[in-house]
Each structure stands twice: as structure tokens, then as C-alpha cells.
């Protein structure tokens, strides 16, 4: 089942003096229920524009989108969506507890369940101690945590998060990643934008790269990582008398009595055969590949060219 269906979405902002900024150019994208989707792109690429359009904050100038089968123009499309804005700000005269209660009530969560969910999400985001203080007195990272808590409090099916990791400390980042993986396990859909490729690599099923309002790449993380495989780094002990049998391979490092060779993926079997034949001792094998960041930079360069 499709959780989010974006078809030909376009947005042109009208600037001052009649200037027009084409922030989004015919974006089409389907995201499945149970999928964690990373939305990558450089600054000003149109990530937030896409998300704001999905949430009904701005009206797209072209195209349409559905969330769980409902048109985004209707407020019922948001009934099962948890949204975290970028640099969020919440009614800061309320305490975290009050704000979460307000959000949960808006999603028709009632009674005991409401109290339980509020308490759970406060504890999960480590805001329990501060729950009786007005949000006004929170630090930036704490506000971000409130943002995550208010997404979790009503347990939606679809999560739309605009830079969920921004402003968080390493512990917080790890926590968010853990939460996302947990949501994935429970079959939820998570659609989040970020600049940090590492986060995508760790938690996402699929990734889309947007540059200047256009989707430049869309693939599963696994495929990208696999296609980026360059070869292996193999270390052997130089107890072997005749090292020159490996002359065809690039030496990465020698550290007597160990030698490390760079072995291209295509020649790995050949290399291992030589090792067996000359009864060399393999200390370890390490995969060498282009990471997502390199992939991302490549696409951005291509997209901007």
C-alpha cells in the first residue's frame, strides 16, 4: 500500500517585484507503508517545500499528492500523520506535558490512553524531568525533542519529519535512529529529509536525492551501496617466501611482516586462489566501497551542472 503518493508536484514562489522562484519542478514519488525513506538534498533544494506542500501549509502550483489515499488539500489527510517542522517552535507558554496533551487531543486520543502516551513519549525523549516547565525555558535540542515527542504521542501511521536530527547531541541522534528503526519494525512509514548521508545509510530503505527542485536519484540504499563496491583490502602475513606472485595487485601498506593489498572485486577469486596455492596466511579482509556521501556529492555535482 502506498503511504505517500506525489505526482508532478510543482511550486513556484512569487517573490518581490514579480520575480519567480521555481522551488519544485514536477516531483513524482511514491512511498510505501512500512518504508523508511530518506530525502536528501543540498540547502535550498526544495525538501522543505515538498514537505510543507504535503502538510497543506503551502498550495502547490502544479500536481497533486495523496497521503494514505487522501488528497492533501483536505485536513483529513493529516489524520494519521505525525509532522515535525524544521526548526520547530511550539506554543512556548505551555509546558511540554500540556503541549503533548493538546496535540494528542487534536488527534482524538482520549482518556487513559492519552495520559499513558504523553508519559511514554516524554520519557522516551528524556523530557520527563522538564515536563512541568514551560517550553519557553527549553534549550534548542530540548525543543527538538518536544517536536519528536509530539509526533510520537498520537502514534500515527505516517511520519513526515523535516530534519529530525538537527540540533540534537550524539546521544539524541542515536536515539532518533533507534526510534526510526523501531517504527520501521512496527510497519510505519517514515519520510524524512536530511543532509546527513550517514543517517540515511544507517536507517533508510530507500533514498531520493533532490537538487534544484528535481529528483535526481531514487534507489534503495542497498543497491547504492552495492553499486559503490570498489574491492577488498586483504592483509596477509609475509611468511611466504615468494611475495612476487601478488605483483599484479596494488600494495596499500607494508608493515613487516604484514602486507595489505587492494583487490578489485572482479579479481577477488583469482587473488584468493593465489593465496591458497602459495599457502599464504590471510589476516583479514575488508570491503572497500564508495559511501553514500560520495554518491550524493556525485549526483549533486551532476544535477547542478
Amino acid at each position: 500500500m502506498k503511504a505517500i503518493e506525489i505526482s508532478g508536484l510543482g511550486k513556484t514562489y512569487k517573490g518581490r517585484k514579480g520575480t519567480r522562484i521555481q522551488a519544485l519542478k514536477g516531483l513524482s514519488l511514491d512511498i510505501m507503508q512500512g518504508e523508511v525513506f530518506g530525502f536528501l538534498g543540498p540547502n535550498g533544494a526544495g525538501k522543505s517545500t515538498t514537505i510543507k506542500a504535503l502538510m497543506g501549509l503551502i498550495r502547490p502550483t502544479a500536481g497533486d499528492a495523496l497521503i494514505l489515499g487522501e488528497r492533501i488539500t483536505s485536513c483529513t489527510a493529516r489524520r494519521n500523520v505525525g509532522y515535525l517542522p524544521e526548526n520547530p517552535s511550539f506554543y512556548d507558554y505551555l509546558t511540554a506535558e500540556e503541549y503533548l496533551t493538546f496535540v494528542a487531543k487534536s488527534f482524538d486520543v482520549k482518556g487513559n490512553l492519552l495520559e499513558q502516551r504523553v508519559a511514554e513519549s516524554l520519557k522516551l525523549m528524556e523530557l520527563w524531568e522538564a515536563r512541568k516547565r514551560p517550553i519557553r525555558s527549553y534549550s534548542k535540542g530540548m525543543v527538538q525533542r518536544v517536536g519528536l515527542a509530539q509526533v510520537l504521542v498520537h502514534a500515527p501511521e505516517v511520519f513526515i519529519l523535516d530534519e529530525p536530527m538537527s540540533g540534537l547531541d550524539p546521544l539524541g541522534r542515536a536515539l532518533v535512529k533507534e526510534i526510526i528503526l523501531d517504527l520501521k519494525k512496527r510497519g510505519k512509514c517514515v519520510f524524512f529529509s536530511t543532509h546527513i548521508t550517514d543517517d540515511v545509510e544507517k536507517v533508510c530503505d530507500r533514498v531520493g536525492v533532490i537538487v534544484s527542485g528535481q529528483l535526481q536519484a531514487l534507489d534503495s540504499v542497498e543497491n547504492i551501496l552495492r553499486s559503490g563496491l570498489e574491492g577488498y583490502c586483504v592483509q596477509i602475513r609475509s611468511g611466504v617466501k615468494r611475495l612476487d606472485v601478488f605483483d599484479g595487485f596494488e600494495v596499500l601498506r607494508t608493515h613487516d611482516p604484514f602486507v595489505e593489498y587492494m583487490v578489485p572485486a572482479a579479481r577477488f577469486n583469482e587473488f584468493m586462489a593465489l593465496v591458497g596455492h602459495h599457502s599464504a596466511e590471510v589476516m583479514f579482509v575488508e570491503t572497500r566501497r564508495k559511501d553514500l556521501e560520495a554518491f550524493f556529492l556525485e549526483i549533486v555535482e551532476k544535477g547542478e551542472a
Binding site: K52, L57, C75, T76, Y83, F90, P134
Partner: protein, 263 residues
Amino acid sequence: MLNLVEITLKSILRDRVFHGIIFSALVFLLIPSVASLSMRQMTELSMNLSLSLLSFILLLLALFLGGTHLWKDIERRYTYSVLTLPISRSSYLVGKFLGIAIFIFAVACLLGLVAAGVVVFSSGIYPPERPIAWDNFVAAVVLDALKYILVVATAFLFSSVGTSFFLPVFGTICIFFVGSASQQVYDYITAPATTDISLFTKKAATVVYYLLPNYSAFDYKVNAVYGVPIAGSGLLLTLAYFAVYALIVVALAALLFEKREMN
């Protein structure tokens, strides 16, 4: 929606608006001594001054709350988090409006009680020639509250399109003055004795008169202060006028707000 009304009331109370009101309500304590300057109508003067002060406080509240409340939500980017909840923008706007309206009404009732206390105190010192028309007093306070709720509605209308608080605040002030005087101008222009005004101007003035809120209709101070009887049917018509006009303005504001971009 109730949820939003509650949040709005909380926001007003936590903004220490109430402290400001209590502070300005201290002026009520001065009224008896000022009224004692009157030569023949101390009770009437105290009621006059009390109702005037009440009106003034309500005007400030209506301008301040009506003119800045929506703007603040947009300016501080609260709208990103609130308007993306599964509530329509219309119910958001109506909820906010109801919250402020309830607050204004409650303040009017509270200050009305204080004003009544001042009047009772003054009449104890110098008994009035005619009995105090308490029913008219209540009518004056309630209609005053309704008037300022209507002012909030117009402020919301401006807020729904304005990007700063200048438009809502100054627009509302302008409409307030013009709406308070429109009846007078209309009466003058349409009087049979007025002949030096072209037919077109008369028609235009009539159209403007019908379009603008008629705030002077809600002014029952004279009836309260001097015990001038109030026509029941007129009162009912005024209430109906309020209900319909406020609904139209709020509906229009909601419509415009629905169309608005949040960026």
C-alpha cells in the same frame, strides 16, 4: 475546537494580560473621588466614568488580542505545528476567535461587577434623584462586550490577510472610529433637510453604511447612566445584528485564512 479555545484562553492568561487588566482596573478606585466633583449628578457621573473606563479597557483588549493573536502565531511559526494537526484552518481561526470572545465577555462581566460596586458606593454618599436603572446597566455592559467582540472579529479579518500586525491594529482602529460615527453620518446625509448632497453621494454613503459595522448601535451608556428606557425590540434587533454580522466577518476571515500560504 474546544481544545483550541482552551489553548487560546491559556495563552491569554499566561501572557499576563490579566495583570494588566487588574492594574488598569485600579483606576476604578479613583472614580468616586473624581465623580464627587460633580455638582448635581455624582451617581450618574460615577456610572458614566465606570462604563467609559470599562469600554476603554475592553477596547485595548480587543485591539491587542484581536490584532496580534493570529499574527503572533504566524510570526513565531506556531502555525507550522498547529495548522498541520488534523484541524481545518477555519476551525483553528474560529477556535481562536471564540477563546478571545469568551475572555472579553468574562472581563466585561468582572469589570461590570467592579463598576457596579463603584456606583453603589457613590450612590451611598450622594443618593441620586432617580433610582439607578440596573437592568439598563447590565444591558450596557453586555452590549459593550458584544461590540468589542465584533471589534475582535474585524481585527481577525485583517489578521487573516495581513503579514504584520500593523494592518490588523491600525485597520481595526480605523474601522472602529468610522463604525462608531457611521450612524451619525448616515442620519445626516439621508435627512430630508440635507439637500446639498448629490444623489450619488447619498447612495454611496448608504452602501458604506450597510457594509461597515455599526458600533454606535451597541452604545447603551446613556440609557444606563440617565435611566433612559430601552426598547426591547430594538435590543433584540441589535443582538440579531451582532450575531449575523459577527458570523459573516468571521466566516470571511476563515475563508481568506484557508487560502493563505504559510511560509
